[in-house]
């Protein structure tokens, strides 16, 4: 049970880091060493869309588990992560928590109240979006390198091994947008995410997307 709980938190951290870093970096100008200033936040109502491929290298598995799909980040609403292949699932993350659906059935619902770290993460990330890295730096040591067009961030948790911080190392590479995230876990598992086809628009959400966010906000 502990492992599972940890995994869930891990997922959320990863998800939030990814989505929010994506947000933070999307109109990246310069990456400064002292106080990473790698982007303006999405403005209210702005929507980032893109596609991803995910590669999970798990201990004891013969080959990495590959999946691909699309994602939508709507400022002020949250993230929709749609796996298209090989098994379609939709995961919606909002300030209320996480909801997962597979083939029209809800398979998982994780309220934020169950995972307080999620709230902390919001603090951290909303900070980074407004240029306040203190919350982030209290949890991670951050190293930045490269130029505004091609930068890398390396994040290491300050207190290793804590139940609420199950990441041993995370490397993020990007230019205008985040392109590549490589996450290592203490268990030896590794997740690699690659993003492409990112676009920012201010257009309205589709009906299906609105419905998903609404469904996730429901109690």
């Amino acid at each position: 049970m502990r492992k599972i709980a940890v995994r869930k938190i891990l997922v959320l951290i990863a998800a939030m880091l990814l989505s929010c870093l994506t947000i933070a970096v999307l109109s990246n100008s310069t990456a400064q060493a002292a106080d990473p200033q790698i982007g303006e936040p999405l403005k209210q109502g702005e929507i980032l869309r893109g596609r991803f491929t995910q590669e999970r290298s798990l201990q004891g598995f013969q080959a990495p588990l590959k999946s691909e799909g699309s994602f939508v980040v709507a400022q002020g609403k949250g993230l929709i992560w749609t796996v298209e292949k090989p098994y379609p699932t939709t995961t919606v993350i909002t300030p209320n928590g996480l909801v997962q659906e597979a083939r029209g059935n809800e398979t998982l619902r994780l309220p934020a109240s169950r995972v307080p770290f999620l709230t902390r993460l919001y603090d951290m990330l909303s900070g980074t979006m407004t240029g306040d890295w203190n919350a982030m730096k209290s949890q991670f040591s951050i190293e930045t390198a490269g130029t505004a067009e091609n930068w890398t961030l390396q994040l290491r948790p300050k207190s290793a091994g804590g139940a609420s911080m199950p990441i041993s190392e995370m490397r993020i590479q990007g230019g205008r947008y985040v392109n590549d995230v490589d996450m290592h876990r203490p268990s030896g598992d590794r997740d690699r995410l690659q993003f492409h086809d990112q676009t920012v628009g201010s257009g309205p959400l589709s009906e299906a997307e609105t419905k998903l966010f609404e469904g996730a906000l429901k109690k």
Partner: protein, 831 residues
């Protein structure tokens, strides 16, 4: 002769005092368990044990929820307050109840038996033959959003059955989760940290409350100064009890002060002497002491409620003293001997009727009422004997000469009832009271809900609701008791219950439940699960699943069909809460969350053997309802029992006249409760019993009063009313619902019993008693106006009955018949 008897009485009392002292030295034991008042049932030991176990667990729980916008502050404060609780030495903190170790142990316990465990959802899918859905769900999760599951676990459990089982365990406090070693939840930017512990001492003990809450409040106040936005919410019986005793103590001091000062002033101002005061205290004191002493001899355990009500009932003895001392103002009574003689018939009849009223409680099949009855019968008798034997000896007072004004004032009420020129006013008043009584009685409704009687602190109740909402637990006191010959049978019964309870949950009748079988399925269920997994999942889909994931085929389990047993789980103590659910082999508890309709639950589960709904609050409510019902019946039976005595003394109509004031007072008091919109409870009914006894006393005093003593009698009744109002009537202002109920009924009932008492004055003792002390000889009296007064008050149902009394009608003795009979007291007192 009297001196000898008085001496014997002194010896008896000394013996009783000695017995009391010895008992006190050995340690007085009072039962506070309200269940001790219940009629015994066959299954009581089992129920009691279950009740006790659950109630203890609930009532000893101490919960603090600490909230602050800053997580670090909340955590820091939680740690500090936990420390504060621990250093009192009264609380054992449950810091590790959900710690990492515990969860690891939980995983370790279940892992070897993962082939036997199915979540309700997976089980129903497999039962429906939809194994593919289970398989695909697992794949979706593994491939899905960055992956939720531990890789090593997937290799052993490619269908994620164990994960599904674990996440669907009905763990209480569903909104809490572990954050860095602390149970945490967050809402609206505030981090809430839970600190729980078990009180190691009795939550209802005053010193425990002070030792715990004092330091805690101090610490919280200190921390609040440092952190402006800090919130600390608290939950636990000890906090409620402390708030309750605080209210009670504050009230006791104010109401007690009013009562004491009022009574002392009243007696001093009236008599301008100190003796009536201390001698009345002596009478009540002897009554209570003797009752306590004898009751402790008769009963192993005396209930505190018995003390409370018993002492109240004995308090009536004050009336005898008041009546006796009012004779100080009777110029005809110069010696203590004469005073006693003048009041003896009144107090004797009052005593006999009251005794009957109380003794009837012995017949009630309730241990509590029986104890109250015996306690008060003994106490009242002791008080009566004291008045009878001691007063003439200790009374050294000369007749009072300052009472003319008071006597005149006291006699006014009598004159109001007697004089013909007040007839219209009487009729109007009677009509108004009739209308009020009808309206009030129509609005009267019973309400035995014990929760309303508890008068819990509203502030703490709000905190409780908030805590329960935030942590997602409703700590209900209702539960199901499952009893069977062994654990396996009990678990199977719980599995029978599960679908029924699930249905109630889907209807919204029930919020949730925790049964042992949800944590440890029965052996039969585990074997069935294993077959189900094999037939519907492994055979059709396993190869495909592991190929898809790129995993080697998991090893076939080699556990020879071993099942996880309750004994094993209990021994390892790895499942939290399980200990509180399994009381002993075969006797389990199913905790219920947020039950809305106990009746629906009872109906739903009636098919399952060996399961009982236990609802302590509901049981108290039912108990109180039974007691209320009995008490009301006992009032009626009491009236009927008193009648023969009254008829013997006053004749039929006279008896009705003597009974009328108290019956009317009871009726009007009940109507007043209805008009006040209060639910009628056992405590109202107990007060009515008291009103009935006091009312009869007043009426008997008036009936026994000679014409020239009317004012003296009324003064006695005045004093008795005022002292009783000062001691009981003030309770109407209590904030404790039960006490208020008692007080309000007394207040209204007594006032009417007093106002109507002179009505009984026209009933006269009809027996021709020889009385060698007769002072007054033949008294002339006018019955006409009195009779009409009664007629006006609507008490005598004789349509067309003129003011002319009819001889022979129902035993009513006309004035001629009684001329010369009213020589007064003659009840067996010979020097």
């Amino acid at each position: 002769m009297r001196r000898l008897l008085a001496l014997i009485w002194l010896v008896v009392l000394l013996a009783l005092t000695g017995h009391l002292a010895w008992k006190y030295h050995a340690g007085l034991q009072f039962s506070t368990d309200i269940l001790a008042l219940l009629p015994r049932e066959a299954e009581t030991p089992l129920l009691e044990k279950a009740n006790q176990a659950v109630t203890d667990a609930v009532s000893r729980r101490v919960v603090l929820l600490i909230g602050d916008p800053d997580r670090a502050t909340a955590r820091d404060v939680a740690a500090k307050l936990g420390q504060t609780l621990a250093t009192t030495g009264l609380v054992r903190l449950e810091a590790d109840s959900l710690s990492g170790d515990r969860l690891k142990k939980l995983g370790a316990l279940y892992f070897p038996f993962r082939h036997n465990l199915l979540s309700p959802r997976d089980r129903s899918l497999l039962l429906a033959g939809d194994g593919e859905e289970v398989a695909t769900n697992a794949l979706s999760q593994i491939y899905g959003f960055v992956g939720l599951t531990d890789a090593r676990l997937i290799a052993h459990d490619p269908f994620l059955l164990l994960q599904s089982f674990l996440t669907q365990l009905p763990v209480p406090m569903s909104r809490l989760s572990l954050d860095d070693g602390m149970l945490t939840t967050s809402e609206k930017g505030i981090t809430w940290i839970l600190v729980t512990g078990t009180l190691m001492a009795e939550p209802f003990a005053l010193d425990v409350q002070q030792q715990l809450i004092g330091p805690l409040d101090k610490k919280i106040a200190l921390l609040r100064q440092q952190h402006a936005e800090l919130q600390v919410k608290r939950l636990g019986a000890v906090f409620f009890a402390a708030a309750g005793s605080q209210v009670a103590m504050k009230e006791t001091s104010t109401l007690g002060l009013v009562s004491t000062i009022g009574s002392v002033l009243l007696l001093l101002l009236t008599f301008r002497r100190i003796a009536p005061l201390w001698q009345n205290l002596l009478v009540v004191g002897i009554g209570a002491g003797a009752a306590l002493s004898v009751s402790l001899f008769l009963f192993d355990h005396l209930h505190v409620a018995v003390l409370l009500f018993g002492v109240s009932l004995i308090g009536i003895a004050v009336d005898y003293g008041m009546y006796y001392y009012s004779s100080l103002f009777d110029p005809d009574c110069r010696t203590p001997e004469q005073r006693l003689r003048s009041v003896l018939p009144g107090i004797t009849l009052g005593y006999v009727t009251t005794l009957l009223g109380y003794a009837i409680l012995i017949l009630a099949p309730f241990p509590g009422l029986r104890q109250i009855a015996i306690f008060s019968v003994i106490g009242l008798s002791a008080s009566f004997v004291t008045v009878l034997l001691w007063f003439p000896l200790i009374d050294r007072l000369s007749p009072a000469r300052h009472g003319a004004g008071m006597l005149h004032a006291a006699g006014m009420l009598w004159r109001f009832w007697e004089q013909p020129d007040h007839r219209v006013v009487r009729r109007i008043l009677g009509a108004i009271l009739c209308v009020a009584a009808v309206i009030g009685l129509l609005r009267l409704h019973a309400d035995d809900d014990v929760r309303k009687l508890q008068s819990l602190s509203p502030d703490l109740l709000a905190q409780q609701t908030e805590i329960q909402r935030l942590i997602g637990s409703t700590t209900s006191t209702q539960f199901l008791l499952v009893h069977a010959a062994d654990d396996e049978t009990a678990l199977q019964r719980e599995e029978q219950l599960a679908p029924l309870l699930d249905e109630l949950r889907s209807k919204g009748v029930l919020h949730g439940y925790q049964s042992p079988a949800a944590f440890i399925p029965s052996a039969a269920r585990q074997r069935e699960n294993r077959r189900l997994i094999d037939a519907k999942l492994n055979q059709p889909y396993l190869t495909q699943q592991v190929q898809q994931l790129g995993l080697p085929m998991p090893k076939r389990s080699d556990d020879n069909g071993a099942v996880l047993t309750l004994d094993r789980a209990s021994a390892e103590d790895s499942v939290p809460f399980l200990g509180s659910l399994v009381l002993q082999p075969g006797i389990h508890v199913v905790m219920l969350d947020g039950l809305r309709d106990t009746g629906a639950l009872r109906t739903a589960i009636q098919e399952v053997d060996g399961v009982r709904v236990i609802d302590p609050t509901g049981d108290y409510t039912i108990l109180l309802s039974k007691y209320r019902y009995r008490a009301v019946w006992l009032i009626v039976v009491g009236v009927l029992l008193m009648m023969p005595v009254l008829i013997w003394r006053y004749g039929w109509l006279g008896a009705i006249l003597v009974k009328a004031p108290s019956v009317t007072a009871i009726t009007l008091a009940a109507a007043a409760i209805g008009l006040a919109g209060e639910g009628f409870t056992f405590f109202h009914a107990m007060a009515l019993i008291l009103v009935q006894s006091i009312g009869v006393d007043f009426a008997v005093f008036c009936a026994e009063s000679g014409r020239n003593r009317q004012s003296v009698t009324m003064l006695g009744v005045w004093l008795a009313t005022l002292t009783t109002l000062l001691s009981f009537g003030v309770l109407a202002f209590s904030r404790v619902a039960a006490v208020h109920a008692f007080g309000l009924t007394m207040l209204v009932g007594l006032i009417f019993a007093f106002l109507l008492a002179p009505v009984a004055g026209s009933a006269k003792p009809r027996r021709d008693w020889q009385n060698k002390w007769s002072q007054s000889g033949v008294r002339k009296r006018e019955t006409k106006p009195l009779y009409s007064a009664i007629h006006d008050a609507g008490q005598v149902p004789s349509p067309g009955a003129g003011p002319e009394p009819r001889a022979g009608s129902g035993g009513w003795a006309g004035p001629e018949a009684r001329a010369g009979h009213d020589a007064g007291p003659a009840i067996g007192w010979k020097d």
